[in-house]
Symmetry: C2
Subunit: 129 residues, 2 copies
DNA sequence: AGACAAATTGACGTTGACGTCAAGGTAACG
DNA sequence: CGTTACCTTGACGTCAACGTCAATTTGTCT
């Protein structure tokens, strides 16, 4: 045990499918070691996967995540890129908060419609004819 | 002016594309009048479009919206269907609140990372090598 | 060695809500 | 009557993030 996991073990550990792992690799998000044709995931690969999953929780697209990851793969100490990442995070936060505001609005509207004794239904009837 | 709009006028008024209107028609969400081959949108058609857009704001799928709309097109007074609509709305509300909870969590996490002086960035660096 | 489990690549399919041509029809204006 | 501008149908394309085969190869166990 060289502290590496097979694809099957990865699937169990992180609750993803093998297809997903191969897909991430194809998209250049992760690069497992090869032993023959088989993939072996070392500590680094697992750290990257965790960041991918975390990024997804943050609502980043895989492409965003790839860019962030590869940025720091090449040069983690580059100050400009560091700031770029920071900006990306702040932007993303703003997007998420805007999305939240929209969602809140929609929830409030829907709640009111429901509370008003199915006013929405009345509205649908009106539009129906 | 018979209180009808051409497709182009509809596009400007509701900020949708012609493709979208034809798509909604193909999906049986809306039925404009025909004068020759051309579509003309009367008051009823416009009311339906507004409900479609509203439904989308609520996060309903077009298929959900179609069912709701057509349900009341056929029989607005059917009690069972009324209740079905009500249930759909309540379900949808629950979904939206769950979605908001997730979003809140993600926002909180991201905020913390940012507050911690770009801890996320450090994490990305760690995973990069 | 035989059997069975686990992995591999490649390729096409899925979902939703449209976008984007192509090729032509027609209404209205001057 | 000619020229635009607007409209029509049909059909294929797009995007994201994988799912779902199929055919084959490799690894492990007995």
């Amino acid at each position: 045990m060289d502290d590496v996991l097979t694809i099957g073990e990865m699937c169990e550990t992180y609750e993803v499918t093998a297809r997903t792992l191969r897909f991430y690799e194809q998209k250049e998000l992760i690069w497992p070691i090869r032993r023959g044709a088989r993939r072996l995931y070392d500590r680094k690969a697992r750290a990257r996967l965790q960041l991918i999953l975390r990024g997804k929780r943050f609502g980043f697209s895989l492409e965003d995540i790839r860019q962030l990851l590869n940025m720091y793969e090449r040069d983690g100490s580059n100050q400009a890129q560091l700031e770029r990442t920071y900006e990306l995070a702040v932007d993303r936060l703003a997007q998420m908060e805007a999305q939240r505001a929209e969602l809140d609005l929609a929830i409030a509207e829907l709640k009111q419609e429901i509370a008003e004794g199915a006013a929405m239904i009345a509205a649908f009837k009106a539009a129906a004819e």
